[in-house]
Each structure stands twice: as structure tokens, then as C-alpha cells.
């Protein structure tokens, strides 16, 4: 992580270096975008949600407590909540469309990119892609990733292992 501007809290006994929002946004933007890209499996949606995530973070910046976790974890939580809201809204929209416009085109497959790896990733569930993003790309440790996901560390580890195994198998099939 690059050096960031630091301000400090004035609360006695909680003297923790507090980075500036713009510095955090600059350094974590790519990570959050990758996480959302993996989670949603859609570039356009991921871009929208990334912007939305940082807007929410901007509004909630006063509540960020560096003593309780890194900015990356905090942003990932906001991003996850934003993505889940998006999924709920999408589900409601799909239900409405199914009810009133029968025969409408089905929801498309995730669009992560043209390569074999992207294609394999697209076949994973969002939950599997999410754990891969958090552990492999964002390099969060097991317990931290588990806290973000709201599951136990064991479940997180199992889910990661299963996702990577599936990816490996699909890659192997693609090569063959």
C-alpha cells in the first residue's frame, strides 16, 4: 500500500493513525473494483457498484475506526452490502419482468472476459468467486475474509478450497 496522508483522532487512549479518505480511495479503488467484478461477474455492474461503494464510504467515513480493521476490509464490507442490495433489486426486477413480460430474454451469463480463466470463473457461483477475490486477489487472511463474509473461518477455507479446485478442473478441461 502506498503512503497515505494521516490524521489522528482526538480521543484519548485511541490514538490511531487515520488515513485521509482520498488516499484510501486512491489505494483501494482497484481492489474494491476487482472484488465487485468477481462478486457480480459483470464489468458494467461492477463499475457502477464501485462508484456507489465509494460514495457510501464517503458518507460514512466518520464512522470508520482504524482501530477495528483496515480500510480495505471496511470498504469490502460496504461493497458487499452494496452488491447484495443490487442482487435483491435485480431479483425483484426479474420477478416483475417474468410476471408481466413472459418470454423476456433470460439473464445472461457473467461477463468477466474472453479468456479460459474468465470463462471458468463465470461458471462459479458468486459466493465462490467472492471468496477467491478476497483471499487470492485482495490477500485477506482467513479470519478476516470470514468476518467479511459473515461465516466461520473453516467454512471460508472450505469454500475457497472448493472454488479453486473447481477452477483448476475447469482450466484443465479447457486445456484438454
Amino acid at each position: 500500500m502506498r503512503a497515505v496522508n494521516a490524521v489522528t483522532t482526538s480521543w484519548p487512549g485511541l490514538h490511531v493513525d487515520r488515513p485521509s479518505f482520498s488516499a484510501v480511495a486512491e489505494s483501494e479503488l482497484d481492489s474494491v473494483h476487482r472484488y465487485l467484478l468477481f462478486l457480480t461477474g459483470n464489468r458494467a455492474v461492477a463499475e457502477d457498484l464501485t462508484g456507489e461503494t465509494f460514495e457510501k464510504a464517503f458518507r460514512a467515513w466518520r464512522r470508520f475506526d482504524p482501530g477495528r480493521g483496515t480500510p480495505r476490509v471496511w470498504l469490502c464490507r460496504i461493497a458487499r452490502s452494496t452488491a447484495l442490495d443490487h442482487f435483491r433489486a435485480e431479483e425483484r426486477r426479474r420477478r416483475r419482468e417474468e410476471r408481466y413480460a413472459r418470454g423476456a430474454p433470460a439473464v445472461g451469463e457473467p461477463e468477466l472476459g474472453p479468456g479460459a480463466l474468465e470463462a471458468a470463473l463465470a461458471r462459479l457461483s458468486p459466493a465462490e468467486r467472492e471468496v477467491v477475490a478476497l483471499r487470492v486477489l485482495l490477500e485477506l487472511d482467513g479470519p478476516t475474509a470470514a468476518r467479511v463474509l459473515g461465516i466461520s473461518a473453516t467454512a471460508c477455507s472450505t469454500r475457497l478450497s472448493r472454488a479453486l479446485k473447481r477452477l483448476e478442473e475447469m482450466m484443465s478441461d479447457a486445456r484438454d
Binding site: R18, L29, R34, E47, F54, R62, P126, E130, G142
Partner: protein
């Protein structure tokens, strides 16, 4: 991060991991510009918001401390000696329909501090315009046997000076034993207040009590009884002037005789009640004996009183808190259950969304 775990998945799926990390990482320029445009939020307040768990950690001791301070202040304030005599308003103790109001409070009284200086005029005076039975008891300490005799005489003089009289005097001055003089005096109610003040000044007040019994209702009943009897006598006398059968006449004469006797008795009782109301009764005891020290309830020093008061205050506060806990606990349980249920529902919904999205 546990090193072994990282090595495990990075070794086991090394190729996949390498390829995943090699995927393009940069966010598009449009998103970057959108985020940069946000700028910097307004400066954080000087006092940051504490998370609720930490707030509880701060608030709980502060509340306990506040409660303890309040208890100490309450204890200290209540332990201060009470300089004001117990004040009783004039009307309150004289209006009872049953006609009774007895102020009996040994050790604390209506005139002022016990074993203190001569009382001021803070006693409950008789109510003007009402008939009351006004009884007072007073125990005074005098210096020695000579003073006992002298003060007894002075007391009798005081009573007479107000138009009263001494109903009985009993003085015992055995050598080697504390001397004592018991006086029962009657003083006109109109002067009882002054008389009591002067009598109390004869020595150091050790004990005093006051009883006021309203006689208005008794008098009213007596008057009504007298009136009924007079009416009956008048009617019976009138009937006896008429020609009547012998047996009826005889019965009426007997009834008339009985009514006259009852009327005489009722009139006497009424006069007695009025006399009782006109004169107050004061029982005065003069003694050379020192006042018995009041029984200490675990020590009555100011510090101990303050500690006891503070303890009672804390106990009261504890009882209130316990009551609130008991009353609110079902709601708290319901709220917690609702919260847990909502959380479980959201988790399940999240799992479903992430499995199918």
C-alpha cells in the same frame, strides 16, 4: 494471516492462483474519476463517535459513579442535624370527623429539640372556635433537689397566673435517689400555649407529647340527644293532658320519667364535655435525673448516619433498577429474538442470492 494456510492454497493451486493474480487489476478511468471527484469528507468532529460496545463500557461505570455520588450527597445532606422543629399546620390536625388527632412522638416533638433550650412558640396551638380535648405531657430536668422544689412551686404559680389550677402534685425527694415531682394541672385552653412555653422554660425538656382530640362531633351528638329528649318530654307531657286509657297513661308516665332522667344525664355530660374543652390538661414531671441516652442504632455519628442513608439510597436505586429489569426483560428478550431472527433471515437470503445470482 496463518502462514501455513497461505502456503497451502498457494502451493496446492499455484497455477490457478498465479493466473488469477495476473488478471487485469486496474479499475476503469471513469470509475476512478468518479471516486476522485468525491474529494475529502468534512473534518471529523473533535469528539469521535464511540462504537456502542465501547460506549457501554464508558457509560456503565459513569452511571454507577453518578449513582454513588448521588447516594453520598443524599447521605451527607440527610445526616445534617435537623434544626427545624417538626411543623404541623393548624388545620390538618383539627379537622378529623372522628375528632381525633394525637401527636405523640417521644424524642421528637412539636415544640422543638428535646433536651435543648426552652422551646419557642412552635407548638400546635388549640384551634380557635372548636372544642377540643387538649392534653400535653412534659418531662423536665432540673439541676438538683432544691431546684426541684423551687421549680414545682413556680410551675404552680404559672398555672394559677393563667387562671388554671393544680389538679394534683406528687413530689418525692428521697436522699440519694433522683427527685421527681409529678404535677397534673388544668389551664384554660386560651392560655395553654403561653403556659406550656413558660412551663418548659423551668428546666431542660427531656420528653414531651401532645394530644389533641376534637370534641365537636361528640358535642353535636350530645346536643342532638338532648334535643330529642326535650321533644319527647314535650310531646309526652302534652299527651298526658289528654284523656288516655289507664295502662297507656301509666306507660307514658314511666317513659316521661325515664326521659327526664336521661335528659339530666345528657345535660351533665354535655356540660362536662364543654368543661373538658375549656380546660387543657398538662401533665408535668420535673426530675433531677439526667436524660437516658437514646438507644443508638449501630451508632448515630454523622458519618454513620450518612453511610446508612447512602446505603438506603443505593438500595432504593437498586430496587428500582431491579424492578425495571424485571418489567423490561420480556421486551428485551423479544427484541433480541427479533434481532437474531432478522439476522438469520438475512444470512439465509444472502446465501441464496450469492448461490443463484
Amino acid at each position: 494471516m496463518p502462514a501455513t494456510e497461505t502456503i497451502d492454497f498457494e502451493r496446492e493451486f499455484a497455477d490457478v492462483v498465479r493466473e488469477l493474480r495476473a488478471l487485469p487489476a486496474a479499475a476503469p478511468t471513469g470509475v476512478r474519476e468518479r471516486v476522485r471527484a468525491l474529494g475529502e469528507p468534512a473534518a471529523r468532529r473533535s469528539l469521535p463517535r464511540l462504537p456502542w460496545r465501547r460506549s457501554l463500557l464508558v457509560l456503565a461505570p459513569v452511571c454507577v459513579l453518578g449513582l454513588v455520588v448521588a447516594a453520598v450527597v443524599h447521605g451527607v445532606l440527610n445526616s445534617a442535624p435537623k434544626r427545624q422543629a417538626l411543623s404541623l399546620s393548624r388545620g390538618t390536625n383539627h379537622e378529623g370527623a372522628a375528632g381525633g388527632a394525637t401527636l405523640t412522638n417521644p424524642g421528637q416533638n412539636v415544640w422543638g429539640p428535646v433536651a435543648g433550650p426552652a422551646p419557642s412558640r412552635s407548638l400546635v396551638p388549640p384551634a380557635a372556635g372548636r372544642h377540643q380535648n387538649y392534653d400535653a405531657w412534659m418531662r423536665l430536668r432540673v439541676k438538683d433537689l432544691d431546684a426541684l422544689t423551687q421549680r414545682t412551686n413556680e410551675a404552680m404559680q404559672v398555672v394559677r397566673s393563667y387562671g388554671g389550677y393544680v389538679a394534683s402534685v406528687n413530689q418525692s425527694t428521697t436522699a440519694g435517689a433522683p427527685g421527681e415531682a409529678d404535677l397534673v394541672v388544668r389551664v384554660p385552653v386560651a392560655h395553654v400555649e403561653d403556659a406550656l412555653v413558660r412551663l418548659a422554660s423551668l428546666g431542660t425538656v427531656l420528653d414531651r407529647r401532645l394530644s389533641i382530640v376534637d370534641l365537636e362531633q361528640t358535642l353535636r351528638q350530645q346536643r342532638q340527644h338532648i334535643l330529642r329528649l326535650r321533644l319527647f318530654i314535650a310531646r309526652a307531657t302534652e299527651q298526658l293532658r289528654q284523656p288516655l286509657p289507664a295502662d297507656v297513661r301509666l306507660r307514658l308516665q314511666l317513659q316521661l320519667q325515664q326521659a327526664r332522667a336521661d335528659l339530666s344525664q345528657a345535660t351533665r355530660a354535655n356540660a362536662g364535655t364543654l368543661r373538658e374543652a375549656a380546660l387543657s390538661r398538662i401533665s408535668l414531671t420535673l426530675t433531677t435525673q439526667h436524660a437516658t441516652a437514646p438507644v443508638k442504632k449501630g451508632g448515630t455519628g454523622r458519618f454513620e448516619r450518612a453511610a446508612r442513608d447512602a446505603g438506603s439510597f443505593l438500595a432504593g436505586a437498586g430496587a428500582v433498577i431491579l424492578f425495571l429489569l424485571i418489567v423490561l426483560s420480556p421486551f428485551v428478550v423479544l427484541a433480541v429474538a427479533a434481532l437474531l431472527g432478522r439476522r438469520a433471515y438475512r444470512r439465509r437470503e444472502e446465501r441464496r442470492l450469492l448461490a443463484s445470482a
